[in-house]
Amino acid sequence: MTRDFDNPQVEIAWCPGCGNFGILRALKETLEELGYKPQQVVLVSGIGQAAKTPHYLKANVFNGLHGRSIPVAFAIKATRPELCVIAESGDGCMYGEGGNHFLHAIRRNPDITVLVHNNQVYGLTKGQASPTSEEGFTTKAQPWGNLAHPLNPLSLAISQGASFVARAFAGDIEGLKGILKRAITFRGFALVDILQPCVTFNRVNTYSWYQERVYYLGDDHNPHDQIAAFERSLEWGNRIPLGVFYMNPKPTYEEKIRERTLRQRNVFDTEVFTTILQKELSRFL
């Protein structure tokens, strides 16, 4: 039983049976088991069903704009590198509206964890196709079936040399926890794309649909081999691999600026202020 991260005050607004419950539980237990205190954790989200998650546990929360969790998380981490910063949102939020931030965050390699509740649908807005919806997926907004090819977030992240790339399944909480632990403790940008059944709007990718297909990458997979990781990331259909696809440890953004930021001065101190003012003004002489 988790304790610290439970937040009984807030009523959970998800549909009964939603895959999000499993993710919430796994996340709470993971943080607890990793020994974090809620005070050390900041959960940053966008807007959507998944994006409500941070409210449902005890932690610092920044529930921002649809699509914009990553830049907020990046800046929090850059400002307070001692905090554990997790950006968490839905597939529409992270890969649709927020696609550009996702792409460029990989390049910066901040030490944040990005959890995507990938239900392959826009849940909160009642079931439109999301970037990861299957081709042909029909909805009220796409009665003719989704015309676009689904985005492959793992391939994308691996293609840009992201430092940690994994996939998990909300239906296997222990497996998910294992992956979350590795992602959160990994130093650098860590993506966990979590397959999450939406029992209300996604009648294609259901629990059983996933269950029939998912399997864990075995020891034969070398997560340090970018090509192999890429190849495995393309696997989607009758068999869907879970696990850590790729690891590419490298200096984080915060490490790169650490030395610099040590030079911060307290300008709220009058003396410091005056010194800097004098020095700076003299440069304009």
Binding site: Q9, V10, P38, Q39, Q40, V42, V44, I47, K52, H55, K58, A59, N60, V61, F62, N63, G64, L65, R68, I70, P71, V72, A73, F74, A75, I76, A78, T79, R80, E82, L83, N100, H101, L103, H104, I257, R260, T261, L262, R263, Q264, R265, N266, V267, F268, T270, F273, I276, L277, E280, L281, F284, L285
Partner: protein, 562 residues
């Protein structure tokens, strides 16, 4: 009293800005006042670019159209600007005809040819610089010091060549018998500051304790990014070039939530993309400062020109309603102070603050005897003891709740949805009502922080302006004074919320004339809504160029005569 206007023009890449930079610095260090405005196009090489540089014995607050000296790095400069040279003016460089009118003296000087003799046409700009200095009768000593500073790290040879070029320019001028033709009084040893608007905005942020600046490059705001980047290593600033303006503002908000003072800067098009983020800052009551350096639009418009077209936009930007501050500093000195004030007030009321700059303010260099930074960064004290669980949005009477940062004892919860006192999202519409009232009631307190417009009474008329036009309004007033007209000025730097008491003041003003760099007269509209007064007399310039003293003087005379 010595007061000369000079223009140095050429193609982009010919070094106009180097001439201007060098001259401005040397003249300031030699004890004179400089006012220099930059005119350039949205390209890197070619086209037409010029600096309008005014130098004098008294502080200068605007540029003049009529030229004493026109320096032509190319023939186009001559063609475009010769008509602005006043009788008895001097023109030199790549000129077209040697004689023009009766009095204007035109001298052909082959800067590039001279430079090539020194080994590289790159030195042409120093030849031109030397020539100007000689015309003003400035000894080259300060200039040599400056060259050492500016080119020292490129090696002694480069410094020597530049010195030679400078001398060569002076020599040619001497040969033409022009040395000291526009003499300046003897050297005044008072140290004098030369500061542009962008530098001032950056400096203001530094002094305000801003440690996080995220931006996407956009003219004319990029100078702020460059300034802060140049100080980042020294002062430990986090400066991040974002992938787009949406990221830029969301980063600033994240940093502020986490405890930093954070700012972002952009121009109108980028500000458009920040609208949603502005609302996020408002809803989460996360203070940030946003600089919008205006340029003419709509859309991409004229990237390198000036405008004041965004006032009503930024006041209403983002859907639904929330309080914000809007400032438009009148000059670089005020800009430094405004940024500090903006941070203090944004934090005090936990709201976004917007600073309107423009290309004219951003790129123009002003000189000052005293550069007075009176504002001090002040952070509201973090509340000592708050009950647990912490209510980030506790409904306090003044609408301002105790703000803590994450990572300490308490959990800090912020939400872009409507939320309860803890920050958790709510669908309770009674709480919604209370929260909207909480946010909006700050507006009246904020209003009390706003300063009254700068006011000089004048019986014949009053010029109303805002932001960067302050200087030229003052200069125009002086000009009209010479012609026997008593013109008053009412100039706004604090624009939203407007302070109370304007109605009384404005109702009594003799012949208000609103002067703005936009088409519709946005200040006039704002004041009409606030005071229910009409402002039918307006002088609006919207071609991308700033008002120059004589032009504005003429316009005012014209408006007053109708």
């Amino acid at each position: 009293m010595a007061d000369y206007s000079m223009m140095i023009g050429g193609a982009a890449g010919q070094g106009v800005q180097t001439v201007s930079e060098t001259l401005s610095t040397i003249l300031t260090r030699s004890g004179y006042y400089v006012f220099s405005i930059e005119s350039y196009e949205s390209r890197i090489r070619g086209g037409h670019t010029f600096t309008l540089l005014r130098v004098g014995e008294k502080q200068l607050l605007g540029a003049r159209r009529s030229l004493d000296v026109l320096v032509c790095l190319n023939e186009e400069t001559y063609e475009r600007h010769i008509h602005k040279v006043h009788p008895k003016g001097i023109v030199f460089g790549k000129v077209k005809d040697q004689l023009r009118g009766e009095d204007i003296r035109v001298f052909s000087m082959d800067f590039e040819g001279e430079a090539l003799q020194l080994g590289n046409k790159i030195f042409a700009n120093m030849v031109a610089t030397g020539a100007v200095l000689a015309i003003l009768g400035i000894p080259l000593q300060k200039a040599q010091e400056y060259l050492q500073e500016a080119f020292g790290k490129k090696g002694t040879e480069i410094v020597a060549k530049n010195e030679e070029a400078l001398k060569r320019g002076a020599e040619i001028v001497a040969n033409f018998g022009l040395e000291g033709k526009y003499p300046l009084p003897p050297y005044d040893p008072t140290p004098r500051y030369l500061v542009s608007g962008n530098e001032a905005l950056g400096l203001g942020a530094l002094l305000a304790g801003c440690t996080f600046y995220s931006a996407y490059p956009m003219t004319p705001s990029t100078g702020i990014l460059n300034f802060l980047a140049s100080r980042a290593q020294e002062y430990g600033l986090v400066i991040e070039q974002a992938e787009d303006e949406i990221a830029a503002i969301n980063m600033a908000i994240g940093a502020s939530y986490a405890g930093a003072r954070a700012m972002t800067g952009t121009s109108g098009g980028g500000f458009c993309l920040m609208c949603e983020g502005l609302g996020l800052a408002a809803m989460t009551e996360t203070p940030i400062v946003v600089v919008d350096a205006q340029r003419p639009g709509p859309s991409t418009g004229l990237p390198t020109r000036t405008a004041q077209g965004d006032l009503l936009f930024v006041i209403h930007a983002s859907h639904d309603e929330f309080p914000r501050f809007v400032f438009a500093p009148k000059d670089p000195e005020e800009a430094v102070n405004t940024v500090i004030r903006a941070f203090n007030l944004a934090e005090k009321y936990q709201v976004p603050a917007i600073i309107l700059s423009d290309q004219y303010l951003a790129d123009t260099k002003w000189s000052y005897d005293v550069f007075s930074v009176q504002e001090r960064p002040e952070r509201p004290l973090l509340p000592n003891k708050v009950p647990k669980p912490y209510k980030r949005y506790a409904l306090f009477p003044d609408g301002v709740s105790p703000r803590l940062f994450p990572g300490d004892e308490h959990l800090v919860v912020a939400d872009s949805d409507e939320h309860d006192e803890f920050g958790h999202l709510t669908e309770n519409l009674l709480i919604r009502k209370a929260m909207q009232e909480k946010r909006m009631k700050k507006l009246e307190l904020m209003r009390q922080e706003m300063r009254f417009p700068f006011f000089i009474p004048g019986k014949d008329a009053t010029l109303l302006g805002w932001g960067s036009t302050w200087g030229v309004l003052l200069e125009t007033r002086r000009e009209l004074q010479k012609k026997g007209k008593e013109i008053g000025i009412l100039h706004f730097s604090d624009l939203y919320p407007l302070p109370r008491g304007l109605q009384e003041l404005l109702a009594g003003l003799p012949t208000p004339v609103v002067v703005e760099h936009n088409f519709t007269g946005q200040l006039a509209m704002l004041l009409s809504r606030e005071t229910l007064l009409a402002f039918p007399k307006r002088i609006c310039r919207y071609d991308g160029l700033p008002f120059l003293v004589e032009e504005l003087t003429e316009k005012v005379e014209e408006v007053l005569s109708t």
